[in-house]
């Protein structure tokens, strides 16, 4: 007896030690490549003084209010547009649904400058409406795919029962389906809100200087005015708003723990009233495709008619060497950087998720509290200005061996920072759903924690791992904010090349910019199509929260 008891304690100690080591890597990564640079640059702002004056300024709070209200509006639009699409992706069996699943992701990776210009073509004077719509445009995919992930697992019998009892379809949706989807909707909304509240390029182009947000003001004060204390003050407010959004998202996610029983149900052809929803989804997808089609048209049109000159020019470096490398090399750079970023993010994100699940299952409030803190900390990179991180790198990373400040490694590192939260959000729920009894049985039979993970967790979560890696890869392909600060001219990514080309006069450079943008879309569609093939073995939506 005593011997057996001793063995258990020893195993427990080893497990705790293992857990601590596992947790160390993601924590160290976040501390070195996120917290330290951000704290250092904010610290400079605080030591310069004047933070309180900015915080006391009424204009600051108008800025904050506009940021929050416009981000909330974009979130509402994205949710309203995303829900019918989610329904179609999850429930409907019609030709073209697979294609729609792939296409809705394209807006998510488009360079903001290009989308900004595309919306400017429709609303030449800019303003609040195109700004709100453009931010929603980017994020419909987040809502559609997150909610579809849960929707395809909802047991349809509850709705059918409600209908049998005489509820109208709308009432059945409102009282049965919507509450069940609530956590996924809230979780998606929190992420979309973060993206919208910190979006930069779109606000700059469509706000036309009249409408400013915390993010554009932080950028302006840091980059153009070198007013670090002003930027620090605004960052504080942004930070508070982000924490609030994260808290709301976390509360909503918690409710999922006791959500309705999940059961995978096969998609089928829509009946009667359901066609209205299909129609709404079709309209949304058509609207999403409009700017994309406009960009494609622009890439092949010249004042003298249709031409593929822009695409042909991608083999070169543009008029008078606008780029330092050819468009194709930029595409290759994008693929390479996104690969590195995905590897990094998967390593950090999976380890973090494993630790988070373990902490949640561990007894005691302390462990759970630690888990919740770590969960929130992992999301923070989504809510902190890229310029803050980028300028933070400048004042900190020279202390590391090899002076990483000018290293090409910085691009994948920064991209990984953006993807990690998404990876965690996708893997965590699935990992949590793995039956504890299976793992306990394996442990009792003498399997080491690593073996339990390999034999039980890995096979059960393989699909969402692939989906998370794929989604992360796609986000890294399109990432622009952090990349534009850090990419070196001899190694631009495609979005950076697009931005460079579009900022030079001349017909060919302009066409080439749009052609490069089309190339980015094609690469994205190909990547997403591949991922969806691997990620949804049974022809279903990807698992997880995306």
């Amino acid at each position: 007896m005593a011997l057996a008891h001793g063995r258990v304690t020893q195993a427990q100690t080893a497990r705790t030690a293992g857990l601590a080591l596992l947790g160390l890597l993601p924590v160290a990564f976040l501390v070195v490549f996120f917290a330290w640079p951000v704290v250092a640059i904010l610290g400079r702002g605080f030591s310069a003084g004047g933070v309180d004056t900015v915080l006391a300024d009424a204009q600051t709070w108008q800025l904050a209010a506009f940021t929050l209200v416009s981000a909330a509006a974009s979130t509402v639009v994205a949710v309203v547009a995303g829900l019918p699409v989610a329904y179609v992706l999850a429930r409907v069996k019609l030709p073209g649904v697979g294609l729609a699943r792939t296409l809705v992701l394209v807006p998510f990776v488009l360079p903001t400058v290009v989308v900004g210009l595309a919306f400017r073509a429709l609303w030449p004077d800019g303003g609040v409406l195109p700004l709100v719509l453009a931010n929603a445009f980017f994020n419909v995919a987040v809502v559609a795919r997150t909610v579809a992930g849960l929707w395809s697992y909802l047991d349809p019998r509850a709705t059918e029962a409600a209908r049998a009892l005489g509820a109208s379809p709308w009432r059945a949706f409102r009282t049965v389906t919507l509450p069940a989807l609530g956590p996924a909707v809230a979780s998606a909304a929190a992420v979309v809100f973060l993206f919208c509240a910190t979006s930069f390029g779109v606000v700059l182009i469509l706000g036309g200087g009249r409408y400013r947000t915390l993010e554009t003001e932080i950028y302006l004060r840091t980059v153009d005015l070198l007013d670090l204390s002003g930027a620090a003050a605004l960052s504080l407010i942004q930070f508070a708003a982000v924490l609030a959004a994260l808290a709301l998202g976390a509360i909503a996610r918690k409710r999922r723990e006791n959500a309705v029983k999940l059961k995978q149900s096969a998609p089928r052809r829509p009946r009667k009233g359901e066609w209205w929803t299909v129609g709404a989804a079709t309209v949304v997808i058509a609207l999403l495709m409009t700017p994309i089609a406009a960009l494609l048209v622009e890439s092949v049109s010249t004042p003298d008619g249709w031409s593929l000159a822009g695409f042909r020019a991608l083999a070169g470096t543009g008029t008078d060497d606008a780029l330092q490398v050819s468009g194709w090399v930029a595409a290759k750079n994008s693929l390479a950087a996104a690969t590195d970023a995905t590897l990094l993010a998967m390593t950090v994100g999976v380890l973090a998720s494993v630790v988070l699940v373990a902490l949640r299952r561990a007894p005691g409030r302390l462990a759970r509290g630690m888990g919740e803190t770590m969960d929130a900390a992992l999301m923070l990179p989504l809510g902190v200005s890229a310029v803050t991180v980028g300028f933070g790198y400048l004042v900190t990373l020279d202390a590391l061996p090899g002076d990483l400040r000018t290293s090409p490694l910085l691009v994948p590192l920064a991209q990984a920072l953006v993807i990690i939260p998404l990876v965690v959000r996708m893997i965590l729920p699935v990992l949590r759903a793995v039956d504890v009894r299976l793992r306990q049985a394996a442990s009792t039979l003498g399997a080491s924690p690593a073996r339990v993970w390999r034999e039980i967790d890995l096979p059960l979560t393989a699909r969402s791992l692939v989906a998370a890696a794929g989604f992360g890869y796609v986000v890294a392909l399109g990432e622009f904010g952090a990349t534009s600060f850090l990419a070196r001219p001899d190694a631009p990514t495609l979005p950076v090349a697009v931005a460079t080309l579009i900022s030079r006069p001349g017909e060919l450079n302009n066409q080439m910019a749009y052609a490069a943008c089309a190339l980015l879309m094609i690469v994205t569609v190909a990547a997403v199509a591949l991922i969806d093939r691997f990620g949804s073995v049974r022809g279903h939506g990807t698992v997880g929260e995306f």
């Binding site: 380890l351 020279d398 006069p505």
Partner: protein
């Protein structure tokens, strides 16, 4: 005993490190760095130089030049200020006269007088210690679409005052000085022309006359301006004196025109960074940027004029992009003292 998990972590970390290293080291040749000293030139995003000229420099000097682009002139200056104690490079190019004083006051650069500087660049000297050497000169000028005015039988505008003339109501698009460097240059041009007080009145008139303000050059030039490929609605835009050189049609003639009485001169400088460990090599890079060889590339590649005298310009520049004779300018110290204040005043005046 090391738990298995720990080994897994180490394994994963190693794999990640290796995988990253694999796909990233493709571009650089590691062995080279041992023999030839590498000098890092920090510059702005618009820096372009033909590879053969850079290669020739490496052959002649035995110095490998690494180029690090870092945003526009303002962002570049601010990054240099933030990293002055341990600079991200050895030599910098692209700090212009609108930001030169900030860099000089912060001690970003060290004194160096290039033997090449007496061939013209000295004309644009900003400080007696010669910490900065002028490399090129560009002018921000109002550009117009002559076809528009011809079709409306409207005389082409010529001066700042014309832009405020009701005849040209709702025809002008400019950039915000807060977010775009041509916008800042245009504002400085109006300060130089109308004085520290007078510019407020001028901009109030511009606003009343329907001037449109965009946040960046891209939107203004490619979406709102009618003379570019975007075919926007407005025939007057704030751009560069050299922009028409990029808008040459099939007939060999430029489709746009710069108004040479509405220009503000931007001078771009290079200098050796204060805390570099490779002073002599960095000085050689400054010499190279001022050399005949490099100077003859700047017009075609960066749409600016060489600071050196007697350098040939590309064919067609005389007609498409002549250098303005009498551009407005302001002393760097006055710009440094006024820049943020003017931008702030401009923003409240224009409600931007």
């Amino acid at each position: 005993m090391i738990p298995r998990t720990a080994r897994t972590v180490l394994g994963l970390a190693t794999v990640t490190a290796l995988a990253s290293a694999c796909s990233l080291s493709g571009g650089s040749s590691g062995g080279d760095a041992q023999q030839t000293p590498t000098v890092t030139l920090v510059t702005h995003d618009s820096f372009v130089a033909p590879q053969d000229v850079l290669d020739a420099f490496q052959r002649q000097s035995g110095i490998k030049l690494k180029i690090l682009k870092s945003g526009d002139a303002g962002e570049l200056t601010n990054k240099l200020v933030l990293t002055k104690a341990n600079p991200i490079g050895d030599v910098a190019f692209g700090v212009d006269n609108t930001f030169a004083s900030r860099a000089l006051n912060e001690g970003v650069f060290q004194a160096y007088t290039s033997p090449e500087a007496d061939r013209g660049p000295q004309r644009y000297s900003v400080d007696p210690q010669h910490r900065l050497s002028a490399v090129d000169v560009g002018d921000v000028c109002v550009n117009i679409d002559p076809a528009y005015f011809a079709s409306k039988h409207l005389p082409e505008p010529k001066t700042y005052d014309d832009l405020a003339d009701p005849k040209y109501k709702d025809l002008t698009v400019a950039e915000s000085p807060a977010t775009a460097s041509p916008g800042l240059a245009f504002l400085l041009g109006t300060v130089a022309k109308y004085g520290e007080q007078g510019w407020h009145d001028y901009w109030a008139k511009l606003k009343a006359n329907g001037v449109k303000v965009d946040s960046g050059w891209e939107e203004a030039y490619t979406k709102d301006f009618s003379g570019s490929s975007g075919k926007g609605p407005r025939p007057i835009v704030v751009s560069y004196a050299s922009s028409p050189a990029a808008e040459i049609g099939d007939d060999g003639k430029p489709r746009t025109k710069a108004l040479l009485d509405t220009c503000f001169r931007q001078i771009e400088y290079a200098g050796v960074l204060a805390n570099t460990k490779q002073v002599p090599q960095a000085q050689k890079v400054v010499d190279f940027l001022l050399s005949q060889q490099f100077q003859s590339t700047v017009a075609a590649n960066m749409y600016v004029y060489p600071a050196r005298e007697g350098v040939d310009l590309p064919a067609g520049w005389a007609a498409a992009a002549p250098l303005p004779q009498d551009p407005a300018t302001l002393p760097a110290d006055q710009i440094q003292a006024g820049r943020e204040k003017w931008i702030g005043e401009w923003r409240s005046l224009m409600g931007a």
